[in-house]
Symmetry: C2
Subunit: 285 residues, 2 copies
DNA sequence: TAGTGGTCTAGACCACATC
DNA sequence: ATGTGGTCTAGACCACTAA
């Protein structure tokens, strides 16, 4: 009968009121203000946001700061609730959204983990090309050959895509992917020199395994989402030769910009896909 | 001080226990069993599911039965909670998921509505083709010309895509979309004859406005999601002429199967997109 | 003013994983 | 045995909408 009195209004009321007030004047403003470059700078700013959204931002900042690295557990919901002075249910809602965006992964009984590209079953996170027949998912490992890989200066369009200035240092490479021995994807890739300082052409060519896993482990760069623009094109002579197709064979041109936290572009890819034996699959909702 | 005692354990305990038990033996089994063709037939069946998932299925059945039509309000969360004998919070979670899948739309202060293709700002729900330059979203209305429209018999591949048998009746049409006068999309379309009984070629050609809105209003068929397979191809002579391009111009081939509730295919489209002035845009998460 | 969805809290119990 | 996330309930208050 005693724990009944944990429910008395006199005890719980103050918290409720505080939460209600914070709806208009965030109680977390102090901690939130430690954000160096406010992402909310653009526009007149909402000036307020639900508590759970503020918590979400705080967790996001922890991820950006590297407080919890990819693959690690983050504190339990109760710990986070205590840290941010909110209820566990509010933390839950914040974590729910981050999990829906694939930034966190919940595992019942174990905890909540920072999403990672390593230690994952899927080799190519953003690749939407599927074989027309055969295996439901994938078709065994691809064979990967680097055609070219070097440091270079960003051209105007590459610089614009990566948010750099023309002439800034970039790492540039071209590689060919074979599925079952058949050359299927020819891909040009550009990485900004700054965030990937220290990454050499040799390191990239010697590395085997998911490229995004390398980026996470060595440079703390996690790709969060990507935009693709798709066209039908004809290959030039070099492209046709590498893909072993006729110059009159239509190919899928896929330009991808991958972003890390806060919509910062971190990678530009221009792929040419053969679609005689494969197709690009997309789900619309 | 009196309402404090609304919290006493003796009063709330029975309900909590019932909810816990229902986790393993659904209290809603009776009503749920009215489902004629169980969608859970495939596999050994989970045999149980969280309460809110059961509620979600019941609401889904209401949508399929047409108990609430597209554009209408569904009962408030409290009404649904009373009907299904669960708390409002549980109904909320069920509705949350249905809203995330775009089957329902919540509007604060007004209610929860059945999603609809009509009365919407977006003309083409599933179209991912964007102009390279110009307007951020769209470029004014498209001009639509029917090249062909008639009843026909399903070929083997069309039948397979629509879950029919070869030779079954289908409505088949070909139309051309122009943006700013420039022919850009050539689209072949097949609809199953059964669900669209009574739909004539004339009716379809005379109708102006979103096609999916017509399907909802006249046939109660709501498209819920779609799968697309994309390739790069060359047009045949007829296609090239209609799109006013050379026969050596690579084009995007987009095959779309659109589904209604319960993953039942309801439409097959084969589109040819010009990508010299437009591109197919995709967001990856 | 009444009713709706939106947010926040609090606590109970379950399923699962680990020790 | 302990701790984690998952489910469910209950109630308070806010923001918005319409009558």
């Amino acid at each position: 009968m005693i724990d009944t009195f944990l429910h008395i209004r006199d005890a719980s009321r103050p918290l409720v009121i505080m939460a209600a007030v914070s709806h208009l004047s965030p109680v977390l403003a102090a901690e939130a203000r430690s954000d160096p470059d406010g992402a909310a700078m653009a526009g007149p700013a909402p000036a307020f946001s639900p508590l759970y959204q503020q918590i979400k931002q705080l967790i996001l900042q922890g991820l950006q700061r590297g407080e919890w690295r990819p693959g690690e557990v983050i504190p339990s919901e109760f710990e986070l609730a205590a840290r941010y002075k909110v209820s566990q249910g509010t933390v839950r809602k914040a974590v729910d959204e981050l999990a829906a965006e694939h930034l966190l992964v919940r595992r019942q009984g174990r905890g909540t983990f920072v999403a990672t590209h390593a230690e994952q079953q899927v080799q190519y996170r953003f690749l939407r090309l599927h074989p027309d027949q055969g295996a439901v998912d994938g078709e065994g490992p691809a064979q990967r050959d680097f055609v070219d890989c070097r440091r270079a200066r960003a051209s105007a369009d590459v610089a614009r895509a990566l948010g750099l200035r023309t002439g800034d240092s970039v790492l540039q490479s071209r590689r060919l992917l074979r599925f079952g021995g058949v050359p299927t994807i020819l891909e040009d890739l550009w990485l900004p020199g700054g965030p990937f300082k220290g990454l050499t052409a040799e390191r990239l060519m010697d590395y085997h395994g998911p490229m995004y896993a390398l980026f996470e482990a060595e440079f703390g760069v996690r790709m969060v989402r990507a935009d693709e623009r798709i066209r039908a094109v004809l290959p030039d002579a070099a492209q046709a030769r590498l893909l072993a197709v006729d110059a009159s064979t239509p190919l899928l041109s896929v330009e991808r910009i991958a972003y890390t936290y806060n919509d910062v572009p971190m990678e530009l890819r221009r792929g040419l896909y053969r679609t005689d034996t494969h197709h690009y699959r997309n789900q619309l909702n």
